[in-house]
């Protein structure tokens, strides 16, 4: 590692954490120097988030020591103490109060923003941070955060972590911030971390996107099964090495069946082009259609409209068939937190399973068990509470719910956000198989790499489709070009 332990800003030694019988962390050591960016990589369930929660003070460790700036922190270590020491966390599960505006959320962590005019000062503080990190963000700091799309919420949360009043920032923990940011915002954030490091701020950066890590981190720590299994300077590691250390089989590239078939099924979704747009949206049975572009340019609006119009025509939108939807914003739009994996799976198809409004427990259990096995959901049985699963597995349950609903059209609202590489590949295969069985997919994604799985891609800019790209012609440059409103090179 980096030698001179005395200079470490944060020093974790032998951190242990158990959840019931499950050991989430089995003695983890971690050192973070001021002005450096440490990246932590690993599968879902490797213990990254648990470790960060302990460092950020939201979870108490069962064993081990934490030292910040050379001083040991005792049993009373919590969020308050961490805040006072200048440790800020940006979590995967967003921690803003949705009913409060960005300025009010800023006040929440800064007690110095008090007295007359605090609102104005808070607005200036968060506005400046947003402008510095995400120029051109277009966020009104007076709007309730809950009304913002998830990408903008993530921006507010991230920017808030870098705001300073009398409390200075010494370490910012970014737990998968880029999962809900589009390519531009991700680039802006990574660029800003370099600047922050120049000011002596340390950064912990967690991401499943390995190129981001290798391109920007100073050091990389690889975790597996609650332990650190490897580390090194980012410049000396390759993607393949990281993947190997994480324990992922270096499988062949995703099954590239996309766009291979000429057969075309009946039209499931037809949205006439707006007068100012050149492209109409059509989705046929058996097709996987990607929706690309920067976040907030009309992709979600289309998904919402299709969901509302299920089974009939509404205005210029015709939807033939039933619709099921999977959202990547699982806490707000997905899971039923009090329920088991089984009930969370079957809630999408209770009406189909029921006879005269009543469910047969055996039949329901059979359906839930079938999908648990088919999607390889890592839970001992369908009675397991959904909240005891890792994030990626919770997301699989939501996909299982949509598949079990047996709908003609499945809407994906960036559903694989924050899911590890291996799980993603598995799910891609399932999507392809379901499409071959005649289902239609409308798939909004913030990760351009995911578009590889689509037969066709529509690129959105300011609410209209600016390009339609067939699988064979798909290229990152063309998607990015159209995302900024460029005319496609080949007309029609």
């Amino acid at each position: 590692m980096t030698g001179e332990t005395g200079a470490a800003l944060v020093e974790l030694r032998g951190i242990v954490k158990n959840f019931g019988a499950v050991q989430a962390l089995a003695g983890v050591d971690l050192e973070i120097q001021s002005g450096r960016m440490v990246s932590v990589v690993g599968h879902n369930g490797a213990g990254k988030s648990t470790l960060m929660q302990i460092l950020g003070g939201t979870l108490a460790a069962d064993g081990g020591t934490i030292r910040v700036a050379g001083h040991g922190v005792g049993a009373g270590y919590g969020v308050r103490r961490a805040g006072a020491l200048g440790i800020r966390s940006v979590f995967q599960e967003l921690s803003l109060c949705p009913n409060l505006s960005a300025e009010e959320n800023t006040r929440v962590i800064h007690s110095a923003l008090a007295g007359p005019g605090w609102r104005r000062r808070a607005r200036r503080l968060i506005g400046a941070a947003l402008d510095a990190i995400f120029p051109g963000h277009g966020i009104d700091p007076r709007r309730p955060v809950g009304d913002l799309p998830i990408g903008q919420r993530q921006m507010v949360e991230t920017a808030r972590a870098f705001t300073e009043t009398d409390r200075k920032v010494r370490l910012v923990i970014l737990d998968e911030p880029t999962a809900s940011l589009d390519a531009t915002a991700t680039g802006q954030l990574l660029g800003y971390t370099a600047e922050a490091r120049g000011r002596g701020i340390a950064v912990v950066f967690i991401s499943h996107r390995l190129p981001e890590i290798l391109g920007h981190a100073d050091e990389v720590i690889v975790m597996r099964d609650g332990q650190v299994v490897g580390s090194g300077a980012a410049g000396q590691l390759t993607e393949a090495q990281l993947v190997e250390m994480m324990g992922v089989m270096r499988a062949a590239e995703p099954a590239q069946m996309a766009g291979a078939r000429e057969w075309r099924g009946e039209i499931r979704v037809a949205a006439a082009a707006r007068p100012d747009a050149r492209f109409a949206v059509t989705v046929r049975a058996g097709e996987v259609v990607g929706l690309a572009g920067l976040a907030g340019h009309g992709q979600r609006a289309l998904l919402r409209a299709v969901f509302e119009a299920a089974g009939h025509r509404r205005g210029a939108l015709q939807v033939n068939g039933t619709v099921a939807s999977v959202s990547g914003d699982r806490r707000i739009e997905g899971i039923f937190p009090l329920w088991s994996v089984g009930r969370n799976t079957t809630i999408g198809c209770v009406r189909r399973l029921a006879r005269f409004g009543w469910l047969s427990p055996a039949r329901e259990a059979a359906v839930a068990e079938e999908w648990r096995v088919r999607l390889d959901i890592r839970a001992p049985d369908i009675g397991t509470p959904i909240l005891s699963l890792s994030g990626g597995n919770q997301q699989k349950v939501l996909v299982a719910r949509a598949f079990a609903a047996d709908a003609d059209i499945i809407l994906f609202d960036d559903p694989l956000r924050g899911v590890d590489v291996a799980t993603k590949r598995e799910l891609y295969r399932h999507v392809r198989r379901a499409a071959e069985a005649g289902r239609a997919f409308l798939w909004y994604t913030t990760e351009n790499a995911e578009l590889e799985n689509c037969d066709r891609v529509y690129v959105f800019y300011r609410g209209v489709v600016t390009d339609e790209i067939a699988h064979a012609e798909l290229s990152e440059e063309r998607v990015i070009g159209a995302s900024f409103g460029a005319e496609p090179a080949i007309a029609g």
Partner: protein
């Protein structure tokens, strides 16, 4: 071992109210040297029935999630009670018409609530409270013209006993079991609990959110009407203040019974434990000759005690 006990208790949130009721019952029995112990229980069950009937409806609304509550229950009870008894007018001939009229009032009141909540988008807490005032006022207007007695058949039904147990209690215990099964095994029940946990996710999962919520408020109002009719029969006639207690009691039996005030989870069995507990506490304090002032203090402390025990369980997990 303690883990097992805790898990067992977690799955049965109604245990606390029944446990507390049992203790209060035993204390009462001690105070009177065991005389009339069973009769005390039978009488408690009789009164508990009225709490439990409205409690079922209130439980469904509360389980349907944050913001959902029915505060029109006292108004509906009183109005339905008055009209039903008025139509009976002391004779058995008007029995069917009276009950039908009472139930129709329940349905109409429920529909009115749904209109306020879904049509005018008024928050349920305000909408149902206002609607309750309207129904109470209608009962007042109606009471000027009617001082009827209930149908004798209904009166004997409301006090009838089988094997020493009140018949109406047995009937509504059966209904409670049905509701309990429906909550875990029917599309409607699953929908209510899903909406209570996460209304947005419920909509995206394709559930009929509006229809389910509408049905919940209809059910609550109809149950309140039925409770009003039976209570009027049991007390020999409707009275304008007969619903007053039920505003808070309907909520108290739901929460004491182990239903989460946050929604998404319901504990139908607990309604009975809580209703019996609340009635037995009054009996116990009467038997012990506790003064009126102290009586409220003790009742309050018992409620806090039960909730604290149950909450301690939640935090421990």
């Amino acid at each position: 071992m303690t883990g097992n006990v805790r898990a067992w208790l977690d799955a049965r949130p109604w245990v606390w109210s029944f446990g507390a009721a049992l203790i209060v019952w035993l204390v009462t029995a001690l105070a009177v040297q065991g005389r009339g112990m069973l009769e005390t229980l039978a009488v408690a069950l009789q009164f508990a029935t009225f709490y439990a009937i409205v409690g079922i409806g209130q439980m469904l609304t509360i389980a349907a999630g944050p913001g959902n509550i029915d505060l029109s229950i006292p108004g509906v009870m009183t109005f339905a009670g008055y009209v039903a008894i008025g139509m009976m007018n002391g004779g058995n001939a008007g029995l069917a018409a009276g009950i039908a009229a009472g139930v129709v009032i329940g349905l109409a009141a429920g529909a009115f609530n749904v209109g306020l909540i879904q049509g005018l988008r008024i928050p349920p807490m305000i909408g149902t409270l206002a609607a309750g005032f309207v129904f109470q006022s209608m009962a007042i207007a109606y009471s000027r013209t009617s001082h009827a007695a209930p149908a004798p058949l209904l009166v004997s039904f409301s006090v009838a006993r089988v094997l020493g147990l009140p018949v109406i209690a047995l009937i509504f215990i059966v209904l409670t079991v049905l509701v309990s099964v429906a909550l875990s095994r029917s599309v409607f029940g699953r929908s209510v609990l899903a909406i209570g946990q996460n209304a947005r996710a419920a909509r995206l999962a394709g559930l009929a959110v509006r229809r389910t919520l509408g049905f919940v408020y209809l059910a609550s109002a109809v149950l309140a009407a039925v409770a009003g009719i039976l209570l009027s029969a049991y007390s020999g006639g409707a009275a304008l203040d007969m619903g007053t207690d039920y505003l808070l009691m309907s909520i108290a039996v739901v929460v004491l019974g182990g239903t989460s005030i946050a929604g998404g989870q319901a504990s139908p069995a607990g309604l009975w434990g809580a209703a019996i507990l609340l009635d037995l506490v009054v009996t116990m304090l009467n038997v012990m000759r506790v003064g009126a002032g102290l009586r409220y203090v003790v009742t309050g402390l018992i409620i806090i005690g039960v909730l604290a025990l149950a909450k301690g369980r939640e935090q421990a997990t």
